[in-house]
């Protein structure tokens, strides 16, 4: 009932819209159209990604050549790199802001924000988000968060530098390091705005998916992308507020003299008055968000790759239900595994044992997803579009990085691996590279939908192969540093005899990282060039089944002229035997595909089955096809 009511209302709306005057500001800046907001998220995300990548190159240079001067660094960074050498404090700031930007601004907002906004209304058949205004606010809060985070590079004491997890007391006691002064304050403000943004986004996504699906689009007919965005949004809604709570307590500790996280602290001989707090409390609050956060990062990427792999293998995704249930499993389990970040923090070891069990259980749904991807590729008819290449790359990274998670999730093994380069390698593969590849797969796949033009495929190929190879060259060797006991966030490896043997590896890794960074130029050029000069996109360039490809290429407010199409089938009818082409869009009723219908398509509808049987009796020849 409600859907029908909504329809009418929207049709009405749509008719009215003809008379609205769209100004430059309402169209490109304070836009409430989900497609424009998606583009805003994407382009902001790309800019932030380039910045964060640049930061990583800066600290990689320091790691590779710790005893050389690079005067150009001083040109850019001034006194933070006096004499052309990055200072230890600034090195930590680089690491911190690289992590924060990548995790929150690129892989959460840039990924979820872009594709949830773009695809939710288009794939479920809605005119726009449930609350377009909230949606606009969500972007602008995100934008402000980005600006404030970047502004910390322009203050004297520099950006926050206690690591992206900002553990107190390091981040709370201003005297502990320069970055814990003003820079940390800006970090906290930025984070509050960011959480507000992602909550507004998340609530919008959930309500849109639950309430505004078109006729026939029941939950089990939704593409896996939508399932992933839906569950990601739920994760975000339930976990992000906890971070805000933690951040508020931290603001109080920093500015109003409370002692939530502080106790028994002496700096040199300076005894701080704080008593009764516990730094472990922050870690619990942070990781209660922080762990779901890594699934907030990877689940949309998995959703995107499910869709891309299925479309380009010309095969239904194997085990659609299993894919959904494994996503649900990951969602639920991700709330009870945060303690695996804290095995050796002094948390009660009893809890360590419990969290180890829950953590390793979460490997099961992840394994199911991997095997299902492989089964989808099996006997497919694979088209290697750039999006497909990146999706395959994602599966590879997800396997490589996921497997090292089995080491780290095991509390006993984590004792020696915790906070080493093994961890760095692990999460850069499974969360960093995999999620970025998911995002890039999404960009290549839905670029025609976003901008009405095609990206250059060959530059996409080049981009993929360079990035894929470079990412492995960067992160694979890092595992071995970790296994040798080299801790992360070390400014230089020069002070330890045993680390000197890794200096050559560091040089190699830095060159690989530079290669990966330069490879992104191919993407950036391709992306921005194609927005304006790309080939005009056809209606359905990948011959895909989902609803977004039925909407006109030219963006219109309300997505579809006239009525929203009705959905009759699941989104994965690729290469269905008996049908003349290898895809059947969701909008094609079964009555038009009598030759390819299968018994279970009718979900026990006796009448439909009867009609099908009658038809098959009447048309026996087609059976041989």
């Amino acid at each position: 009932m409600s859907t029908i009511a909504l329809h009418d209302e929207h049709n009405h709306d749509h008719a009215d819209h003809g008379h609205h005057k769209e100004t430059l500001i309402s169209k490109y800046i304070f836009s409430m159209d989900h497609k424009m907001i998606a583009k805003q998220f994407l382009i902001t995300g790309i800019i932030m990604a380039v910045i964060a990548m640049g930061l990583s190159i800066l600290f990689r240079i320091q790691l590779a050549w710790p005893d050389q001067n690079f005067p150009f660094l001083e040109t850019f960074l001034g006194k933070w790199a006096e004499g052309g050498r990055i200072k230890p404090d600034f090195y930590l700031a680089l690491v911190t802001i690289h992590g924060t930007i990548m995790v929150f601004f690129v892989l959460t907002a840039g990924l979820s924000g872009t594709f949830s906004n773009l695809l939710i209304p288009l794939q479920i058949g809605a005119r726009d988000m449930a609350s377009p205004f909230l949606n606009m606010l969500s972007y602008w809060f995100f934008f402000m968060a980005c600006v404030i985070m970047m502004s910390s590079f322009f203050i004297q004491t520099g950006p926050a530098s206690g690591g992206w997890t900002v553990y107190p007391p390091l981040s709370v006691v201003a005297k502990a390091m320069p970055g814990s002064g003003m820079g940390m304050t800006l970090w906290l403000i930025s984070m509050v705005l960011f959480v507000a943004s992602s909550l507004m986004g998340g609530i919008n996504y959930v309500s849109t998916i639950l309430n505004m699906r078109t006729k026939g689009m029941d939950l089990w007919k939704m593409p896996l992308t939508i399932w992933a965005f839906f569950l990601t949004a739920i994760l975000g809604i339930l976990s992000f507020p906890v971070l805000v709570a933690g951040v508020v307590l931290m603001v109080f500790d920093r500015s109003f003299g409370t002692s939530f996280y502080l106790s028994d602290i002496v700096l040199g001989t300076d005894i701080l008055p704080n008593e009764g707090g516990s730094p472990i409390l922050w870690q619990h609050l942070f990781w209660f968000l922080g762990h779901p956060e890594v699934y907030i990062v990877i689940m949309p990427a998995l959703g995107i790759s499910s869709e891309v792999i299925s479309v380009n293998s010309r095969k239904p995704i194997f085990g659609y239900h299993a894919m959904v249930y494994s996503l649900i499993g990951i969602t639920v389990l991700s709330f009870i595994v945060w303690g695996h970040h804290m095995f050796v923090t002094g948390m009660n070891p009893l809890l360590g044992g419990v969290f180890m069990i829950t953590t390793l259980i979460i490997a099961v749904p992840s394994a199911v997803k991997t095997f299902n991807y492989l089964a989808t590729l099996w006997r497919g008819n694979i088209r290697f579009t750039p999006a497909m290449l990146f999706a395959i790359g994602l599966v590879s990274f997800f396997i490589s990085g996921g497997l090292t998670g089995i080491f780290l999730g095991n509390a006993s093994l984590d004792i020696n691996l915790h906070d080493t380069y093994f961890v760095v390698a692990h999460f850069h593969l499974v969360m960093g590279s995999a999620a970025i590849f998911g995002m890039l797969a999404g960009v290549y796949h839905w670029f025609p939908r976003m901008f009405g033009r095609m990206m250059n495929a060959k530059l996409g190929y080049l981009h993929f192969w360079l990035t894929f190879i470079a990412a492995y060259l960067v992160f694979f060797p890092l595992h071995f540093l970790g296994l040798d006991g080299v801790p992360r966030r070390y400014y230089a490896f020069t002070e330890f005899e045993f680390m000197k043997k890794w200096l050559t590896v560091n040089v190699f890794v830095t060159w690989a990282a530079i290669m990966a960074a330069l490879a992104q130029v191919a993407f950036l050029f391709n992306f921005f060039y194609s927005i304006f000069k790309g080939k005009k996109a056809p209606q359905n360039p990948w011959e895909s089944n989902t609803l977004e490809w039925t909407a006109p290429v030219e963006h219109i407010h309300g997505n579809w002229p006239g009525e929203i199409p009705t959905v009759y089938r699941w989104p994965y009818d690729y290469s269905k035997p008996g049908h003349d082409v290898d895809f059947i869009p969701q909008t094609v009723p079964f009555s038009q595909t009598m030759s390819s219908n299968l018994p279970h398509d009718f979900e026990g509808n006796a009448e439909a089955e009867k009609i099908q049987q009658d038809w098959e009796l009447a048309n026996p020849v087609k059976e041989n096809n």
């Binding site: 230890p88 002496v266 995704i317 085990g319 390793l360 395959i392 006991g485 230089a492």
Partner: protein, 412 residues
């Protein structure tokens, strides 16, 4: 004809862009060189040149790639113009590249495992470390098998099932049996790993103390950016601390009113007897640090306002390790593994594992934390006989007296 026009217009455009880029960069270079020459005395010209140099290399590569791109385009367009089928079968190219990547990747993994794999930490030098190593190896074997098998499947399928216009993919939406199998098998394997991990974890952190082999207590306190080690002295108990007592002369804030504190000794390095359990009492003065001693597979954070405890038993002396690793300079270390500020990367102390006898000689030479200054501060009699305060101790008199006796004997 249109083809030629296409090429000329695009290439001229590209050339123009490149020219301007070149012109700009060289202009920048000149400007930079000029300013560098004018303002400071440092000769930065060379380096600016080198930055420009790399930029130019990159641009040259871009041009090269653009030329290849154009060549491919020309080739494909000319095929199209002649009415022949598409020039390059990109699906085939990628399929082959994936196959190549698989082969080279497998070789790379083998190379990494053998070359970098031989540069790792030596075998564990502690009792629980051996268990950790065993479990590590088991996990490594399982994950390596899965890693290689899944990658062979992934890239193998990518190679075999590349697009062909003649073929149609196999419509295979689900198979509950297969799905059950690959849910249950990983679950079983993980159950084994979880159980092993859980038991090992419990055996590390929930030790039952053997009354005949009481662990040696050592307190380690971290601060930016150094460690302080405190040995318990003759009574075998590390005394109380109170951070509020911290002064320039009492940097750890040791409470000398506690009798157990008075004989506590300071040390520059951690020396521990082989084969004897050691109970590390960890604490931090300022921010969180992490006590990381990888050769013994020991790591635990040091947290202000909280004691953390790790118990382990070293099984190899430093000398033994030097022989085993064939490295006369080998030494055990502990260092910081939790980001703690600008000196994080250099916060280390040496560890020496020695025989019981060597340990006793060494410990006898260490000074107590309590000195005359502190005696005055705590209103204790200055310069009493070193044994007195502890001897006055009430409860553990017999026990500590016996130890003391040994100590004295050794001293002589």
């Amino acid at each position: 004809m249109s083809l030629r026009k296409f090429i000329t217009s695009k290439t001229t455009a590209a050339l123009a862009v490149l020219l301007t880029v070149f012109a700009n960069t060289s202009a920048f270079a000149q400007e930079a060189a000029a300013s560098a020459a004018a303002a400071p005395k440092v000769d930065m010209g060379e380096v600016y040149k080198s930055v420009i140099f790399y930029t130019l290399i990159f641009l040259a590569v871009c041009v090269f790639i653009a030329i290849i791109g154009k060549a491919i385009k020309v080739y494909e367009l000319s095929r199209e113009a002649q009415g022949k089928p598409i020039g390059i079968n990109w699906n085939g190219v990628h399929a082959s590249l994936f196959a190549l990547f698989l082969v080279l990747g497998l070789y790379g993994v083998y190379w990494e495992y053998t070359v970098h794999g031989s540069m790792l930490l030596p075998d564990a030098a502690s009792e629980h470390g051996k268990k950790i190593d065993e479990m590590f190896n088991l996990t490594l074997i399982i994950t390596t098998i899965v890693f290689i098998a899944t990658h062979i499947l992934l890239f193998g399928f990518a190679y075999i099932y590349k697009y062909s216009a003649k073929r149609k993919a196999y419509y295979y939406p689900h198979n509950n049996t297969i799905e059950k199998i690959w849910t249950i098998v990983p679950a079983l394997v993980l159950t084994v790993l979880v159980l092993m991990g859980f038991l090992t974890w419990r055996s590390i952190f929930f030790k039952v103390e053997d009354p005949n082999n009481k662990p040696l207590q050592i307190e380690v306190t971290s601060e930016q950016f150094k460690w302080s080690i405190r040995y318990p002295g003759a009574d075998g108990i590390v005394g109380k601390k109170n951070y509020k007592l911290t002064t320039a002369s009492n940097t750890l804030g040791i409470d000398f009113k506690d009798l157990n504190s008075r004989d506590d000794e300071m040390a520059d390095e951690m020396v521990i007897p082989v084969g004897k359990p050691v109970k590390l009492i960890l604490n931090s003065k300022d921010v969180i640090h992490s006590f990381y001693m990888p050769h013994f597979r020991v790591q635990l954070n040091t947290v202000p306002g909280m004691q953390t405890i790790f118990e382990f038993t070293p099984t190899k002396t430093t000398r033994q390790m030097q022989e085993e690793t064939n490295d006369p300079n080998f030494k055990f270390l502990f260092y910081c593994a939790k980001i703690c500020g600008s000196g994080h990367y250099n916060m280390q102390k040496d560890v020496r594992v020695v025989s019981e006898a060597e340990y006793k000689t060494w410990i006898a030479e260490q000074k107590t934390y309590l000195n005359d200054d502190l005696r005055k501060q705590f209103n204790l009699p200055v310069a009493p006989a070193p044994a007195k305060p502890a001897a006055e101790g009430d409860s553990s008199a017999t026990d500590s007296a016996a130890v003391k006796g040994n100590q004295m004997a050794l001293n002589k």
